[in-house]
Each structure stands twice: as C-alpha cells, then as structure tokens.
C-alpha cells in the first residue's frame, strides 16, 4: 500500500469519509486497495461507483471554476506573449462542461493555451479546442489515435471525449 494510503484501514472507512477530503490523485490508490479486500464483488462495485461519482463531481466543479478564472487572464499571462482566452471559445467550453456528465470528464483537466484556445488533458491524451476546429491525440501503449483540424461542434467533441475515454 502506498505511503499516502496507509491510514485507510477498511473499505467502510473509505465509504464513510467524504471523498473530496482525499486528493483525486489518491483515487487510483484507493481503488487498488478496494480491489485487494475480500468483499463481495457487488459491494466493491457499489463503493467504486460512489467514489467515482463523488470525485468526478468535484473534478467537474473545479473545471467550471477554473474556466471562470481563465476568462480573466490578461495578455502575457504566461510571462511572454500569451493571449487572453477567446470569449467565444470560453463560451463553448462552458457549454461543453455543462452538457457533459461528470463521469465523462472525471479524468480530464482544463487549461488555457497560449494562443487563447483551451486544452483538455488526461493521461496519455489531449484535445486542443479552438474557435472552429479541434485537434486531438491519444496514446495507448505504442498505438496512437488522433486527428488535426476537426470541425468543432458540441456533438463532435463529446463523441471524441467518449472515444478517448474508451481508448486509453
């Protein structure tokens, strides 16, 4: 068991504590611990789904909050020549975040890019979202999927997010 997870004694402890008290980076360690316990599969599944939902809700809330913060970035926010986020792209991102199930974005992080667009990132995958186009990349072992300059619509980006979630 990892150092950060050693204080978790039982699955009951995990389930009874507010999940947001744990850094999401500990989530995988908690799930590994859950798998190591001798509990019925149904119990493990129920605890897993509850944990996942609570962490996902927290993550999506953070992304919405950060999106508002990024809207206030000034020119040169990176110390060089970064542009403020484009209002149209920020508006699209807001629409996307509000239309997604928290579980769909549970593993994702949101960042501004230096050209005023946005980046959605998760382990081994990224999506660059611009005004009218988006590009994406995902890697699993030595295999890669991705396309540049795809037409941007809410449906197309959600389809890509789902595809990447299944892929990686």
């Amino acid at each position: 068991m990892s150092e950060e997870n050693k204080d978790i004694k039982t699955t009951a402890d995990v389930a009874s504590e507010p999940v947001t008290a744990y850094a999401p980076t500990v989530f995988d360690a908690v799930i590994r611990y859950l798998h190591s316990t001798h509990l019925p599969l149904e119990t493990k599944r129920a605890v897993y789904l509850q944990l996942q939902a609570e962490v996902a809700d927290e993550n999506l809330g953070n992304m919405k909050r950060r999106l508002k913060e990024f809207a206030g970035l000034q020119p040169g926010w990176d110390g060089e020549d970064a542009q403020p986020v484009l209002p149209e792209v920020a508006s699209f991102m807001s629409e996307l975040l509000h239309s997604c199930n928290s579980l769909e974005l549970a593993e994702w992080s949101l960042f501004p890019n230096v050209n005023g667009t946005f980046l959605l990132q998760r382990k081994n995958a990224a999506i660059s979202i611009g005004l009218k186009e988006y590009s994406y990349f995902a890697e699993k072992k030595d295999k890669v999927m991705g396309h540049d300059h795809q037409p941007l619509t809410l449906e197309s980006i959600k389809t890509t997010i789902e595809a990447i979630n299944r892929y990686v």
Binding site: A23, P24, T25, N59, N62, R66, E69, F70, L73, Q74, P75, G76, W77, D78, G79, E80, D81, A82, S109, L110, F111, P112, N113, V114, N115, L119, Q121, K123, N124, A125, A126, S128, S135, Y136, F137, E139, D142, V144, G146, H147, D148, H149
Partner: protein, 169 residues
C-alpha cells in the same frame, strides 16, 4: 555558451508559473511545454549546479505570471520519452548544457526528429517537418509526454525571499 549533453543521472527543474500551468491535482498543462517561434529548446535548470534555485527565482515574473514552483525531471527519464512516429521517424529528446555567465544552471531540453533538431513555429507546430506529418498531433504527443513526466514531481517554492540561497540538490 557550450552545448554539452548532460548525464542520465542528472536532474533538471522546469519552472512552473501560476495560475495556469498546474491544477490542484498536480496536473501540468501541455502549454508549459510550448516552444515559441524559433525557440530550439525548453529551458530548465540543472539541479546539480550551485544556486540553481536562485536562477529559477530570477526568471522575470509579472502581475500575470508568478513562479509557483518547479518540476524535477531526470535527464535519463527525459531521454526515455523518445518514440517512433508513424512507424518510421524517430523522435528523440535530449538535454544539453546552455549555461551563460548570468545563469550557470541553464540547460535545455531539445527535440530531434529524424536527423533534424526541431524549433518552435506556430503555437502547436514544430519545424522543420516532412510534408504529411501531423504537426499538431506530433506537438501534442511531445507535450503530453513532457507534462506527464513533469507532473509527477511538482515542488512548490516560497518566492518571498527571492534570493534564498538554500538551493536543493
């Protein structure tokens, strides 16, 4: 300026600026590894060089960019990020000494595509690349590898004392 390759056993630090380069989960933004137009490397500090932390703290900041900390990256680990693109072109990562009189710990992570050292072009594009290469996809793949390695080791630093000489090694 000398361009000596660093040993695999060395560590380098990449400065992380707030508020937009790292989130509360420790995920580092791909934008942290943007090569600007004609830039040929990502600046890092050699942690084996005395006062490297001061060198990081001396990077100009502004009201819109505050130094939050750094990510510690092994030179050998950076080199291991290399991959084969489209089953034919090798993309290699290397780290070279870029010391100057004013910044003795300065080093750079360089990218090599086939035989060519890459430079920044547009935000998400590198050059020179052969025709037909997905420039944005290649850039995101490189950035993802670097940001994931960096995200494993973020250390927040106190910048109140900008001249703190307690460099870490």
């Amino acid at each position: 300026m000398c361009d000596k390759k660093l040993l695999d056993t060395e560590f380098v630090a990449r400065a992380i600026f707030l508020p937009a380069m790292i989130d509360s989960n420790g995920n580092v933004s791909l934008a942290t590894f943007t090569l600007r137009h004609n830039e040929g490397y990502y600046s890092v500090a050699r942690m084996a060089v005395e006062n490297w932390l001061d060198d990081l703290k001396n990077i100009p900041t502004s009201a819109t960019r505050q130094l939050g900390g750094y990510c510690k990256m092994g030179v050998g680990d950076i080199r291991k990020l290399g991959f084969v693109y489209d089953n034919q072109n090798e993309v290699a990562f290397d780290v070279e000494d870029k010391a100057t009189e004013k910044n003795k710990s300065h080093a750079g992570i360089i990218l090599i595509f086939g035989e060519n050292a890459l430079k920044g072009d547009k935000v998400d594009v590198l050059k020179p690349l052969p025709t037909g290469i997905s420039a944005t996809g290649l850039m995101m793949r490189i950035q993802t590898k670097l940001s994931q390695l960096a995200g494993q080791s973020y250390v927040a630093i106190n910048t109140d004392d900008k001249k703190d000489s307690a460099s870490e090694n």
